[in-house]
């Protein structure tokens, strides 16, 4: 089992102790790619003069394809039975995954084309690769995930796994307003107000979440997995263990 992080700041190593975490960055992957394909001397020179910027601009997606190529190479090595990639955010996810098709069209021969074709094979084979989309039970994230899901199916042709709805408030059910009013009637007004306001706040957040989850279900008819909100402002390995239990013992 391997977890792959792309660019960004390394955050996962501390959260999943005992699982191998690998960070892949585009410039390093491009450099490695050039070295592996007999451009070692050029690679050195390209880096020195910064021509990599120019190459990346000349053929947008080349930095994405070298990253995907690296992941494909790890998959082909047979060293891992599962590789989980923490992919880019919604907007970039589509360009990231369409880079292979784009380059296969744009480049007629050579190592980039071969690479693009091999990545396309990986993306199109549901036994080798699936995309798990993650969202929150709020309006904008739900809109984004629906758009992303359709774009990935149409433009990339990759198999979608279940959609994960993260951070859902699934605590103990709260009494309705009338019952709550009855229960606080013997308390002083201020305390009663606090209890009622807090209950109303929580109920209305939950209603909004439930509404968004229902909308997601109707707009995106694929299986969903719900993960509960953790009472924390940042996750710890213990939180990750608990959340993993939700997915399966």
């Amino acid at each position: 089992m391997l977890v792959v992080e792309l660019d960004g700041k390394p955050a996962l190593a501390g959260l999943v102790p005992g699982i191998e975490v690998l960070a892949i960055s585009a410039p390093e992957a491009l450099d490695e790619y050039l070295r592996d394909h007999g451009f070692a001397r050029i690679a050195k020179r390209l880096n020195r003069t910064g021509v990599i910027d120019v190459v990346g601009t000349a053929a947008p997606g080349i930095d994405d394809i070298v990253v995907l190529g690296k992941i494909k190479q790890l998959e082909r090595s047979g060293e891992y039975d599962l590789i989980v990639v923490d992919g880019p955010a919604a907007g970039h996810a589509i360009t990231f995954l369409t880079s292979a098709a784009g380059l296969a069209d744009a480049v007629s021969s050579g190592p980039v084309r071969t690479q693009a074709e091999e990545v396309l094979e990986l993306l199109h084979d549901p036994t080798r690769c699936q995309v798990v989309l993650v969202t929150l039970p709020e309006t904008t994230p739900v809109n984004e995930v629906v758009e992303t899901a359709f774009a990935l199916e149409d433009d990339v042709g990759v198999q979608l796994g279940p959609v994960v709805v993260n951070g859902v408030d699934i605590g103990e059910p709260l009494p309705d307003d009338e019952t709550a009013r009855g229960a606080v009637s013997h308390l002083d007004a201020e305390t009663g107000r606090t209890l009622l306001d807090a209950a109303e706040f929580r109920r209305s957040r939950r209603e909004m979440e439930a509404g968004e989850i229902a909308r997601l279900a109707s707009e995106l008819p694929i299986p969903k997995v719900t993960l509960p909100a953790r009472p924390a402002a940042g996750l710890t390995p213990e939180d990750i263990d608990e959340l993993a239990l939700v997915l399966g013992p």
Binding site: G8, A11, H37, F39, I42, L46, T49, G50, V51, D53, V54, V55, G56, T57, A58, A59, P60, G61, I62, A89, G91, A106, V107, S108, G110, P111, V112, R113, E138, T139, T140, P141, N143, E144, G171, E172, L174, P175, T179, A180, A183, V184, T191, R193, T194, L195, L196, D197, A198, A199, E200, F201, R202, S204, R205, M208, P231, A232, A233, G234
Partner: protein, 389 residues
């Protein structure tokens, strides 16, 4: 709901005055922070409040989601030209304030720059139709940030507005926005660029021996068509570097001037606060101070006791067999615990920007999806009553 604007202990009450100053004295406000923290909404709220106070504010967003357009009552979405937002009389009053909004159009802005700096229609045509140029306009890292900076400069010079509020792209590196204007200038100064230019200068046919292997290698990696396009682009761009560099310098000077305020936006989570702290430090190192920090979506305060008090009250209620009251107290305990955790996470940001410059805004009980929703946030941020439109 109880008073939800109460800031954490180390935050002084003058926060409200501080953000009011930002609104009244700046000519440019740049909102920055990681993605998903409510940056776009915050930019809209600042623009709305400025209009309420009689300023002619324009909000530039990069948010392609329809949410902001909906919130502003724009049925057809945001356009790439500023559009005036209808404000009710009780919002803008007789203050003379106006609110405008537009969406950043990276490619169109870049085309505009090329048109401005090119010598001839023929040069414009050659550049705009070049596939390599289209890629730069869409894909060169930093282009979006650069065009956001360029757009804000243009709006700053536009007589219709006296305040420009910009919502920056969610960069991996938040400083891209400051540095981006220089990126293209550096790109054009590139050694490869100069090498590619050699053949056209004075009709010299010296693609030196040094250039050829590089060009060949690039051609082998990316394909020869792509290479031909890039050579054509660099040749078409000849003579425009100076104009571009001058403009980039002007844009950077505006961003760094005291008329420009930086507002760092975060949510009360470790990762976004870390990013905000890092960004505030970097800005400080660059000699540009953060004017204020806004932490969105913090759980509101319910009552004045602690989480432990509420948990004890829940136990007591259950002991006297009052299950419903027990559940209600449990809920208060959970909400207070969450708020405590969040305020803890926020404190490093308060230390960096100064507690008096940090505002904590409450998580609302629903989504913000109309002008009234923005007004509710403005009321929290600037401590005035929510007005009906």
């Amino acid at each position: 709901m109880s008073d939800t604007t109460t800031p954490p202990e180390h935050v002084d009450a003058s926060v409200v005055a501080s953000d009011g100053d930002v609104i009244e004295s700046s000519t440019v406000i740049v909102c920055c922070g990681s993605g998903g923290v409510g940056k776009t909404t915050t930019a809209a709220v600042l623009g709305l409040e400025a209009a309420r106070r009689g300023r002619r504010a324009v909000v530039v967003t990069i948010d392609p989601a329809r949410r902001l357009a909906d919130a502003l009552g724009l049925a057809d979405g945001l356009a790439s030209e500023p559009q005036r937002i209808e404000l009710g009389p009780s919002t803008a009053g007789n203050s003379g304030g106006e609110l405008w909004a537009m969406m950043l159009d990276t490619a169109a802005t870049f085309d505009g720059l090329v048109r401005r700096h090119a010598d001839s229609d023929e040069q414009i045509e050659r550049i705009l139709t070049n596939p390599f140029y289209r890629n730069i306009a869409g894909a060169l890292s930093g282009t979006q940030e650069y065009m956001a900076a360029e757009t804000l400069h243009e709006l700053h010079l536009d007589d219709r507005f006296d305040l420009v509020v910009v919502d920056t792209p969610p960069s991996r590196n938040a400083l891209d926005f400051l540095e981006a204007p220089g990126v293209l200038a550096r790109f054009l100064d590139h050694r490869l660029f100069r090498l590619l230019m050699l053949p056209t200068r004075g009709g010299l046919k010296v693609i030196g021996t040094a250039t050829q292997p590089i060009l060949k290698a690039i051609g082998r990696v990316v394909g020869s068509d792509v290479l031909a396009d890039s050579v054509a682009f660099f040749q078409a761009f000849a003579g425009m570097e100076t104009g571009f560099r001058q403009r980039a310098d002007d844009v950077v000077a505006l961003i760094r001037s005291p008329e420009t305020s930086f507002v760092v936006v975060a949510s009360p989570r470790h990762d976004t606060i870390d990013e905000a702290v890092w960004f505030a430090r970097q800005l400080g190192d660059q000699g540009v101070g953060v004017t204020s920090a806004i932490v969105n979506r913090t759980h509101p305060e319910f009552g004045c006791g602690s989480a432990a008090d509420a948990a004890a009250a829940a136990d007591a209620a259950r002991e006297s067999d009052d299950g419903v009251l027990g559940v209600l107290w449990d809920n208060v305990a959970a909400l207070r615990r969450m708020r405590d955790l969040e305020l803890d996470v926020i404190s490093p940001l308060a230390e960096v920007v100064g507690g008096e410059r940090l505002v904590v805004l409450p998580l609302l009980d629903g989504d913000v999806h109309d002008l009234d929703g923005l007004l509710v946030i403005a009321a929290h941020l600037f401590d005035h009553p929510v007005v009906d439109r």
